[in-house]
């Protein structure tokens, strides 16, 4: 039986690879996590008389732009991988990694700006929630970064062996792994956009 037939055997029912399906389920689960955090915020905002409203620092807008860019770049990396343009693939993957680190840097700077604004972590609950939610999102992002680093290291180590790279491209498992990673990044991106809009509405 060929690899293709083997894959077909496992995707007979839903048409997607089981591991990709598992990622979707994981996304549903992570969504529940962020839903719990944001609904906790809504509950507190509703019942706490001394909730201090303030405008969200602009830096979170910049980080939004960065993470959207990351999503685009890593998608292009996947496309170039499929087209067997490995140099482009490695460069774009490296660029995504830089964007991810930049996003983290912006988030941490954002915390500094919040503190300087007189909204420290331990201050009014309205501020604490921003630290809480951004840090939990950041933690998910760090996982994405770590996996990206592993992919990058593997890609760089194989750069001197074009035959090996070509073998990878026809290896459905390697493609699948990359697709899973890219899917995870799009999800992290989408969660941040949700959080950004959520903050934007609730902090004015």
């Amino acid at each position: 039986m060929t690899e293709k037939e083997l894959l077909k055997e496992t995707t007979e029912y839903t048409g997607v690879h089981p591991q990709k399906f598992a990622l979707w389920v994981a996304m549903a689960s992570m969504t529940m996590f962020f839903a719990a955090l944001t609904s906790a915020l809504l509950v507190k905002k509703g019942d706490y008389q001394e909730w201090e409203n303030f405008k969200l620092p602009d830096i979170f807008t910049y980080s939004t732009v960065v993470i959207v860019a990351l999503s685009v770049v890593i998608q292009l990396a996947l496309v170039s991988y499929r087209k067997a343009k490995f140099f482009l693939f490695r460069s774009l993957l490296f660029f995504s990694l830089l964007l991810g680190l930049l996003f983290l840097y912006l988030q941490v700077t954002g915390w500094g700006i919040l503190t300087a604004m007189g909204k420290p972590l331990t201050g009014n609950l309205s501020g604490s929630f921003i630290y809480l939610i951004t840090s939990m999102h950041g933690l998910h992002l760090v996982v994405g970064l770590l996996v990206t680093i592993i992919f990058l290291v593997m890609a760089i180590r194989s750069r001197k062996d074009p035959i090996y790279e070509l073998r990878n491209i026809i290896n459905p498992k390697r493609q699948l792994n990359l697709e899973l990673l890219v899917g995870f990044w799009h999800y992290i991106d989408a969660v941040w956009i949700y959080l950004y809009v959520f903050f934007y509405i609730n902090y004015q």
Partner: protein, 606 residues
């Protein structure tokens, strides 16, 4: 190195399909990959089961210790000091340790035994076997799931040996008691609770990644012919359990994260105007009720995470051992689905006395009582399955019948407690303790025992001892009723008290308390019959004869695989399914395996 990586990737691709040919011959198993870091669902299942048995003994032992305190509050037992040291100075369990015992008993039994041990064992064992898959969607993630569980177990166990003792603020971890590291009153709120939270975080991750694997496997990797409506009820139960877990555990994780923010980073999500030793602390604006909402948003579905797998196992075991098709298959599936949906909208029935708006309480009462309908349908169908069956009273069947008995007994008191007007009177009394122990504690244990006795031959290729099993069953059934039935009548006796000696009102329950404790000790000791039987039978049990053996005469696919453990489950092609899993006593045959094609003129069930 590169070639090795490529080969590894290659093996992983074909991972779900070992055995088609000799390709995997180079994939040598070492002791480490076979027994420790195994990616094989059968081995992971055994790992979960044995870890669960370990926790069962620990959790049970803790309850014996606090039952001794409850029955004999004025006596001393020097032997306790020998073993527990400063926690039982003078041979009497200290109040600090009493609360630690109760807290850890709850945590261990609810999460580490009845979630990890039950769902982990049987989802792993039965999902690939019964749907006809070579393994889980991702064997690697499955392995991670166990090792996260193992790490959680180690952390929780270590917390017994730190100086301030394990967490002691209740398994529900309510703030503000658990919201501060130094409360000045509760030692267990210190490091013990941080370890508890860390262990729970690992546990939740283990449970989540396990569950998403189960869901992906059931929905994607069923063999040819295994349509959804031809799946055994066990698989439906594990699927729905995993769905509940995936959607509700994140809420608990969020709750615990906020709690640790309060504890370690001094935020005030749950804390407001706390006074300790006459000193007002700076926390402002938080609300402990917020934690209760997050906690019970998991906490209530959690009881279904525990009981639904047991229900699935019981459905299967009852049909096999009464040699009759399950009664009302579709109704069984739909009623689990109904329970799944309702489980998410009833959490506030744990919070009727928190100052919840009574109108809201009425809504939650309504949804709670609605759960009685699917539950009753299931009970009716189990009895319908037994009705006029050729029942074999083997140990698994006895435990399954015991489950039905326990579930009815405990379910009836649930109707009383689900009603906000009655709950306000009964809240925090032993009536509640009796209710949940019977309906989800003992019942789930019965489901688990039924499963272990029934699938032990599938796990180890040997049978468990029947006589010991029967004694184990009767001792546990009678004993469990002796423990929990009297608790219903300890009117108004509050839970969580260290001693009732100072309250004359409760004097008349003293003898009952002694009776319960003695029964608990007997039941606890009776469990060693099971443990001895289990470990003895692994090595010395009666061996299954022949290459293929189906000791109970089951129709499902796990019995079509060879007795010998095989990575990939089936040596040749995957079995093909032609019929539903409950063709017992039809067409003049005792049972017809799912793999047997339909005869001309035969009417399909599923």
């Amino acid at each position: 190195m590169q070639t090795a990586t490529a080969e590894h990737a290659h093996v992983a691709t074909g991972h779900g399909h070992h055995g088609h040919d000799g390709r995997h011959d180079h994939h040598e198993e070492t002791f480490l990959t076979k027994y420790i870091f195994s990616q094989d669902h059968k081995m992971i299942s055994k790992q979960f089961l044995i870890t669960g048995i370990f926790w069962g003994v620990v959790g049970g032992l803790l309850s014996i210790l606090f039952r001794i305190q409850l029955a004999f509050p004025n006596e001393t037992f020097p032997i306790l000091e020998t073993f527990l040291g400063k926690w039982a100075e003078g041979g009497k369990i200290s109040n600090e340790f009493y609360y630690a015992l109760v807290t850890m008993h709850g945590t261990i039994l609810v999460f580490f035994v009845l979630t990890g041990g039950l769902s982990g064992t049987f989802s792993n064992l039965l999902i690939p076997y019964q749907i006809g898959a070579r393994d889980m969607a991702s064997g690697f993630i499955n392995m991670l799931s166990y090792w996260f569980f193992f790490t959680a177990s180690v952390i929780l166990f270590l917390s017994f040996f730190i100086q301030t003792g394990p967490a002691s603020g209740g398994w529900t971890a309510y703030p503000p008691l658990n919201g501060l590291r130094d409360t000045g009153v509760n030692l267990g709120s210190g490091l013990g609770f941080d370890l508890w939270a860390l262990a729970m975080t690992f546990f939740i991750v283990a449970s989540l990644i396990g569950s998403l694997n189960y869901i992906a496997t059931v929905l994607n990797q069923r063999t040819k012919g295994m349509t959804m409506l031809r799946m055994p009820l066990t698989i439906w139960a594990f699927l729905f359990t995993a769905v509940i877990g995936v959607l509700s555990f994140p809420a608990l994780l969020a709750g615990v994260v906020l709690l640790e923010f309060d504890r370690l980073l001094d935020t005030s999500f749950y804390l407001n105007n706390i006074v300790i030793n006459g000193q007002l602390l700076g926390y402002k604006g938080g609300s402990p009720i917020l934690f209760q909402h997050l906690f019970w948003f998991l906490g209530h579905p959690e009881v279904y995470i525990i009981i639904i797998p047991a229900m699935g196992i019981v459905s299967e075991v009852l049909a096999v051992h009464s040699r009759k098709p399950i009664f009302g298959y579709t109704a069984m599936v739909l009623s689990i689905l109904a329970i799944l949906v309702l489980s998410f909208i009833v959490w506030a029935h744990h919070m009727f006395v928190t100052g919840l708006n009574p109108n809201l309480g009425a809504v939650f009462t309504l949804f709670t009582l609605l759960i009685a309908i699917p539950s009753a349908i299931k009970v009716f169908n189990w009895i319908g399955t037994l009705w006029k069956g050729k029942i074999r009273l083997s140990t698994p069947a006895l435990f399954a019948i015991g489950f039905v008995s326990m579930f009815i007994t405990g379910g009836l008191t649930g109707i009383a407690l689900g009603n906000s007007a009655i709950d306000i009177q009964l809240h925090d009394t032993y009536f509640v303790v009796a209710h949940f122990h019977v309906v989800m504690g003992v019942s789930a244990f019965f489901g688990m025992f039924a499963g272990v006795y029934h699938w032990f031959p599938r796990l180890y290729g040997r049978m468990m001892n029947e006589t010991l099993g029967q004694i184990h069953f009767y001792a546990t059934l009678i004993g469990a009723y002796c423990i929990f039935f009297p608790m219903h009548f300890m009117t108004g006796l509050p839970r969580r008290y260290y001693t009732y000696a100072n309250f004359d009102t409760f004097n008349n329950f003293n003898h009952l308390a002694v009776f319960i404790t003695v029964a608990a000790i007997i039941v606890f000791l009776a469990q060693f019959l099971f443990i001895v039987n289990f470990f003895y039978s692994i090595f010395k049990g009666r061996k299954l004869e022949g290459e293929y053996n189906n000791p109970w005469g089951g129709t499902t696919l796990e019995w079509t695989a060879p007795v010998e453990r095989l990575h990939g489950n089936w040596p040749g092609d995957l079995p093909v399914v032609h019929r539903w899993p409950y063709d017992y006593s039809v067409n003049g045959r005792e049972y017809i395996p799912q793999t047997e094609p339909m005869k001309p003129g035969e009417v399909a069930h599923g």
